[in-house]
């Protein structure tokens, strides 16, 4: 089956200082740290290019395996996540190479700044995914399951190859996959989000839904 791949872009989604600080490993920021954060955020924002490519795939779940017509993957957790859905929103999102360049630059001359930029980049890509999913759900009058990415739980990273083949990420949004399955630009996400038709509010993607309870970034809420 041919998948229609579309692209979406937006201006800067709302910025959460607290989230960026959490990703930077800095929960209890003093005034100096907060000033550094805002300075880095202003610098980073000039470099951001928010881009998403996406398509809707039909899904047929049998046991632990999800069959998306173009490809299939076996993962107990993804199957559970998509349970009851007949279609899935598959997307690739990136904030572009600019933030990678800044991180590389300050990694060499000011690692403190690099760590902040790293946190900001992580916050930005999450904010982009949230904004995209919200926009999609509202625009199409559907609900979305919490998004689930290759590498989460038991969903193998290898599925990235299929995701990239279907979405044509390099051409659509300039997102590429390395031999070791790393994405470049690094502040990028690919994910499956099950589409539901009961129009309830889209479910939150909070840390509470994650099984990795030992994670140092785990949010308090």
């Amino acid at each position: 089956m041919s998948v229609i791949v579309s692209t979406w872009t937006c201006s800067s989604p709302p910025f959460s200082e607290e989230e960026a600080l959490r990703y930077a490993g800095c929960r209890g920021a003093d005034e100096g740290m907060r000033r550094l954060l805002l300075d880095c955020a202003a610098q980073a924002e000039e470099q951001m290019a928010y881009r998403v490519c996406y398509g809707v795939l039909s899904v047929c779940i049998q046991g632990d395996c999800c069959d998306f017509a173009n490809f299939s993957v076996c993962s107990r957790q993804l199957a559970k996540n998509l349970d009851g859905c007949t279609s899935v929103l598959l997307f690739g999102a990136t904030v572009g190479v600019g933030i990678d360049r800044l991180i590389a630059k300050y990694g060499r001359i000011s690692p403190a700044r690099a760590v902040m930029l790293q946190g900001i980049g992580a916050e930005r890509i999450e904010a982009l995914c949230d904004a995209f999913c919200r926009n999609y759900a509202e625009g199409n009058d559907v609900g979305l399951r919490p998004r689930f990415s290759p590498g989460y739980g038991d969903l193998p990273l290898e599925v990235q190859k299929s995701v990239f083949a279907v979405l044509d990420c390099p051409r659509k949004i300039g997102l590429s996959l390395s031999e070791s399955l790393l994405m470049s630009p690094s502040k990028s996400v690919t994910a499956f989000a099950g589409i539901t038709h009961n129009k309830r509010k889209s479910e939150n993607n909070g840390c509470s839904s994650c099984e990795n309870t030992g994670c140092s970034y785990r949010s308090e809420q």
């Binding site: 229609i4 490993g25 800095c26 929960r27 190479v97 070791s180 399955l181």
Partner: protein, 801 residues
């Protein structure tokens, strides 16, 4: 007919979309369209025949992704051969009466090149070269490199085409809505790069419809001297009833493209979503147009991977600080291959307002070619300014020009025959603006007349190599007035004549004028002002000099180059005092004695303050004592805070960076005394093969250096062999390995295995996002460190016991 000849006098019509039409005939998402050359020949031929019937002069082979990344060598050959056979069959079947050519189509690899991605530049060149050679072998008339969204990959593809064929090459890039490539290059930057390398036509395709790309095309028409190509999508894709539909009709498409043909586009076709109907409409509508004649824009322009810098507008500042001449600390950095020092000089000059950076890393005892190449690549990963490659070694020059991402400045050529014979072929192949010194076998003429004569000779010889006047900038050689007080007048007279009579741009290494005099900045600033008034286009200068920057800003304000004097007003405070004397930040106040002040300033992370306090202390206290009594205790305070979770990572690093400033002051002090500071022991660190993220490793490096270890940083994506070789060469007692992904942990395991074999004495500490104690044990590491402080503690236990 020959394609180049046809292109000179005609508007050339390309074909339209292929992939979207193959999808209509059953090509699946994710399936390789290139295979259809073998499996669905009739479908491919039929589409291509329709394009020729519709009026296309050029039809592209169905080889967009035909390269060795996607196909095995033998399959690739079958595909390219079949693709050319198919296009020829379509041409033979077509009833179209127009001139018809077949272009070997080359699309992007789908990978990002290093340093952003994992594809090496030379590997990319080799990959494209394979496809080019097959295209030549099986009879393509020309090559179309298209849909490239990155400047570096575009250069790799064009270089492969040039090195492996003599066919005409057309290059087209995919610009986004922001008018730039995905990796940031502007149309002006791409024009500089591509024209420098001798492209036959350049342009824009894919990504958007003709209306949205109009601005990009107009910018290309403004900059380019070669024909401009335009091949937009039929608007944007939409899903209608399970099918992808593009929203621009054939008539609207043809009308929009026709407007740009009237403005000067010379090669036109369509990309995604366009059909033979779009091309027929376009050819019918514009077939009678008279092509807009080509005009050489005559711009002297260099570029980086993001932007272009043009000579002849505001004076261009070329920062001279990356150069060991007369700088002990810089020499030491070169001997120690301390790349971070070189990079920080680059970043600082950019912050001070440099437009271009000169890069000279020549020292008698080092491998200049390797060092220059490394420096150019490293600088291009942290600063986006164009570089001026400064070496007298042709081999080093070629290595650097080849890898340079953009159109570089080449420093330098002179009127000597062997100099011109060495430099001009490189400039012709890789592109570049050449700095030409007005001297020759007989030395530097002491009259303006003599220097102008040499300039004429250089221009004449350059033309024989196909190098245009616009790509040469003359340096009429500033010589010190302390030796000959008429020197400045001769230099300036030659400068004016070259600018006015030869119509060429000029630059000077300004600071030479004052050699041997006191308060050199005063002479330099005044000479700079005079030279600007004589028509100087650019200066190789010290951007840290307040006098020079004062002259620069005031000249621009006085010469009507600074609307509302806005830049002058903005910069006025900065050059009222020199950079080194800059007052401390008001918030950087710390109380107490100089010693405890230093500790406190490190803890608070006040970098400038730390530098000043250390310099003060060095007047009276021995360096080692400052390290042991002030710096280390401060670092320990912060480090313990981090371990107790009262200090967070960015705070730890801010202090570490401040401490680094203290060490920098000490190093400069020690280097000035001609000595070398002794470290505690060597630690070799690297991010393993396949992993391209290195922030964690950089943090570890900073902290290890703070604690006095000599860190040899091999970078990221480092093969096991290189790590082992370095450890063995240095007999390093400790190696630190970092990995971010589960997929690269095997590379770490392999490295440890090799280390055990070849360097059994070496302890191995591992860290990184995915690592755990369990992983570390399984792959045989000596130590798993959960963060940088733990690595420091471990290094201390291994090396200092």
């Amino acid at each position: 007919m020959n394609f180049r000849k046809y292109l000179r006098d005609h508007i050339v019509f390309l074909d339209g979309g292929m992939g979207t039409l193959l999808q209509k005939r059953g090509l699946q998402a994710g399936e390789a369209p290139e295979r259809w050359n073998l499996t669905h020949r009739e479908a491919v031929i039929d589409i291509q025949r329709q394009y020729f019937d519709a009026g296309s002069n050029v039809v592209c082979t169905n080889t967009f992704g035909a390269n060795t990344l996607h196909f095995a060598e033998d399959v690739l050959e079958e595909i390219v051969k079949a693709a050319l056979d198919n296009a020829r069959a379509a041409r033979d079947k077509s009833v179209g009466a127009q001139e018809k050519f077949i272009a070997l189509d080359i699309g992007p690899s789908g990978k990002l090149l290093k340093p952003l991605g994992d594809l090496d530049f030379e590997d990319a060149v080799a990959m494209f070269a394979r496809t080019v050679r097959l295209g030549v072998q099986y009879g393509a008339d020309l090559i179309l490199i298209e849909t490239m969204s990155d400047a570096y990959e575009t250069k790799a593809a064009l270089l492969a085409a040039k090195e492996n064929s003599s066919l005409p090459v057309l290059v087209s890039n995919a610009y986004g809505e922001d008018g730039k490539l995905m990796t940031g290059a502007t149309p002006a930057a791409m024009t500089a790069l591509l024209e420098g390398m001798g492209v036959d036509a350049l342009g824009a395709n894919c990504s958007l419809g003709p209306k949205q790309l109009c601005g990009v095309v107009e910018e290309l028409l403004r900059c380019a001297s070669v024909p401009v190509l335009f091949k937009p999508n039929a608007g944007l894709p939409k899903g209608v009833g399970g099918e992808t539909v593009y929203d621009v009709t054939d008539r609207e498409f043809a009308e929009d493209v026709a407007k740009l043909i009237q403005k000067g586009v010379r090669v036109a076709g369509g990309c995604c979503g366009t059909t033979p109907a779009h091309i027929r409409m376009l050819a019918d509508l514009t077939g009678g147009y008279t092509p807009v004649p080509l005009a050489d824009k005559g711009c002297t322009v260099v570029s980086s991977y993001t932007h272009a810098v043009t000579f002849g507008q505001a004076p261009v500042l070329i920062g001279e600080r990356i150069n060991p001449t007369g700088k002990k600390r810089f020499k030491q950095a070169l001997m120690e291959r301390d790349m971070d020092y070189i990079l920080s000089e680059g970043v600082r000059q950019q912050e001070q307002g440099a437009d271009i950076l000169d890069v000279n890393v020549g020292l008698p005892d080092i491998d200049e070619a390797a060092m220059l190449l490394d420096s150019v690549c490293a600088l291009q990963s942290v600063v986006d300014l164009p570089l001026q490659i400064d070496t007298s070694d042709p081999e080093a020059m070629e290595a650097a020009l080849r890898r340079y991402n953009g159109k570089a400045m080449i420093n330098s050529v002179n009127g000597k025959r062997d100099s011109m014979e060495a430099v001009f072929p490189l400039a012709h192949k890789y592109g570049g603006v050449i700095v030409a010194l007005t001297l020759d076998e007989n030395g530097i003429p002491d009259t303006a007349e003599g220097r102008v004569k040499i300039a004429e000779k250089i221009l004449h010889t350059a033309a024989q190599y196909g190098i245009a006047k616009k790509d040469i900038i003359f340096d009429t050689l500033a010589m010190t007035i302390s030796a000959d007080t008429s020197a400045a007048k001769v230099t300036l007279a030659a400068l004016r004549r070259i600018r006015e009579e030869l119509g060429c741009h000029t630059l000077l290494g300004v600071s030479n004028i004052s050699f041997g005099l006191p308060n050199r900045d005063a002479v330099n600033g005044t000479f700079f002002a005079l030279a600007l008034a004589y028509g100087l286009s650019g200066a190789i200068m010290n951007p840290y000099s307040a006098d020079m920057m004062r002259t620069y800003y005031t000249f621009k304000a006085l010469w009507n180059l600074d609307p509302n004097c806005a830049e002058y007003i903005g910069a006025a405070d900065s050059f009222s005092i020199s950079v080194s004397q800059k007052a401390e930040h008001p918030s950087e106040k710390v109380e107490g004695q100089a010693g405890s002040q230093l500790q406190s300033a490190i803890i608070k992370g006040f970098r400038e303050r730390v530098g000043i306090l250390t310099a003060e202390l060095l007047q009276t206290v021995p360096p080692l004592e400052i390290v042991n009594r002030e710096i280390i205790p401060a670092l320990n305070t912060v480090g313990e805070g981090f371990e107790n979770k009262t200090v967070y990572l960015p705070q730890l690093l801010t202090s570490a960076e401040a401490a680094k400033c203290a060490f920098e002051s000490i190093k400069t002090f020690v280097a000035a005394g001609g000595k070398k500071s002794a470290g505690k022991g060597v630690v070799v660190i690297a991010t393993v093969r396949g992993d391209i993220h290195d922030i964690g490793k950089n943090i570890v490096k900073l902290l290890l250096e703070n604690y006095g270890f000599d860190v040899v940083d091999l970078g990221k994506d480092v093969p096991a062999g290189k790590i082992v070789e370095t450890v063995a060469d240095l007999h390093a007692p400790l190696a630190g390995l970092s990995a971010l992904m589960t997929t690269t942990v095997p590379a770490m395991e392999e490295t440890i295995r090799l280390l055990r074999e070849k360097a059994p004495w070496c302890k191995v500490v591992v860290g990184g996002a995915v690592l755990t104690q369990e992983y570390a044990d399984r792959i045989g590491a000596d130590k798993y460190a959960k963060d940088a402080m733990e690595t420091v503690r471990y290094a201390q236990s291994v090396i200092e016991k």
